[in-house]
Amino acid sequence: MTSRARPLVLGLGLVALAAVPPVGGLLNQPFYVDLVRRVMIFAIAALSLDLILGYGGMVSFGHAAYLGIGAYAVGILAHHGIHNGVLQWSLAIAASMAVALVIGAVSIRTSGVYFIMITLAFTQMLYYLGISIEEYGGDDGMRLAVRSQFPGPLDLQNGTVFYYVVLAILLLFLVLAHRLIAARFGMVIRAARSNEARTRAIGFSPYRYKLMAFTLAGAMCGLAGALLVNHTEYLTPEFMHWTRSGEIMFMVILGGMGTLVGPVLGAFAFLLLENLLSGWTAHWQIIFGPLLILVVLYAKRGLFGLLPGGGPRDG
């Protein structure tokens, strides 16, 4: 197919996403509105990981950390009686940004397998921190009694409104990521992935650019965490569990890394598949694990590669 077919496919996808709440309401299936909202929240997280993994070549195995930080920022403020959404979400973004800056500053100094292990270890540290703080529920986590409150018609208690807020944020991030990748910043990041020495030779400091990308991705994922805790209305340290990091990474690979639409497709495929298999057997992971291996071995280009015009990377 020609590349002209691509905007059409993407447009159709957008219309389909926008149509989920009315169609779900018509068919009286609120479950699917819920499911797609969850998918879109994870799509935001996967997109943020793809920025550093696919474009920046940084294999971060700790992306769930920022999901957890964002969620805890909202949860902790709510625990102390502050339900203002602007405050909560700002703190979620600021806190995850700060944590990403610190983790990134240490781990980007290393590379390769060190980087993987260190990001994993730091996330595990935050996970244990979450478990050990009894004030905020410790192991059991805590309930979010009231969703983030915004002025005017933005009432997140209304599931449909919340759905469109998530959709709008996802679209906003897709546009932002698209602009960022095409901009000078994105060029340097991609250059550093393909050849760090040459990037340095033409006068850029890859460390600073990589750290900036790492921090930005953390902030984006932090907002996804704030959305997720509003979605589930409870939070536990499990948000930061290392398997969660692996799952987000799998979404990116499944959809096609180094593409913008790929992570969104990957989040869809992953969560729908999980939903399908877990409805079928409690031991769904025994199918899921080998499936993951097969995807890695034989389908590295991901689902996006199957779309018309969705061929090469960096698309």
Binding site: L53, F61, T110, V113, M117, Q124, G289, L292, V296
Partner: protein, 309 residues
Amino acid sequence: MNIFLILEQTLNGLQFGVMLFLMAAGLTLVFGIMNLVNLAHGSLYMVGAYLATTFAQWTGSFLLALVLALAGSLVVGIVVELVALRTLYERDHLDQVLATFGLILFFNELIAILWGRSALYTTLPTWLSGHVALLPGIRYPVYRALVILVGLVVAGLLWVVVTRTRLGMLIRAGASNRTMVAALGVNVRLLYTVVFGSGAALAGLAGLMAGPIYAVQPGMGEQILIQVFVVIVIGGIGSIRGALVGAVIVGMVDTLGRAFLKPMLSTVLSAPAADTAGPAIASMLIYLLMAAVLAFRPQGLFPVTGAER
């Protein structure tokens, strides 16, 4: 706090460090020689623990169960290498991480199907369940003392094998340049299988010794695996000496931190503050240590020189 308590906790730290070393030795060799990041190493630890517990119930003999479990985890390790990991050696680290993550999901679920999700507990035979007087007035559990002993013996054996035998020479050569080793006519595939199998057996050994001390349950492998990563990062990837030093440091810091940080903090902070901060900081201690080491030596304490990364 008294001196006996400090001594006991130091020994506990050593015992934990020894377990970490058994895991780290295999992992670091597999990485050094095959350039493979194997997240599923923790699964082999879990397999060792489950096999030992089950064989102990079947045979009624603790020692026989240990031998069978050790053989079992060796076999499982070799099968995993032949079936799944062989194709991954030439892939990049991202592929290896994801594929072995898939293996973990598979193993955890398989164990849950076969044995259930609730934790198993092993009872020690009477000759292992008592205490031994190390010094007059200092009594320490026999079993934990035995774990330390076994760990130190294995570390010594490993040192002899790596530095004094032909196999060890090939392992060291493979770690610094595997292409050249292959070019000199060494059967590298066989070497890979041997190294991976031994690593699996060591992980299995750690797992089967862990059985009577910790809870045996699905996912037990990953908990220790991530601590082993910290060990390897601190020690330097590919270095057995680094693994030993890193393991003892991490084992000590973690154990002593959990035991003494809270009472120490309560001397400077108020009791409730120390109650909150103590366990929180103790659980983060080894990761902070890792960050500190990396800030000064990004390649770890004992970097392997001349290796391809």
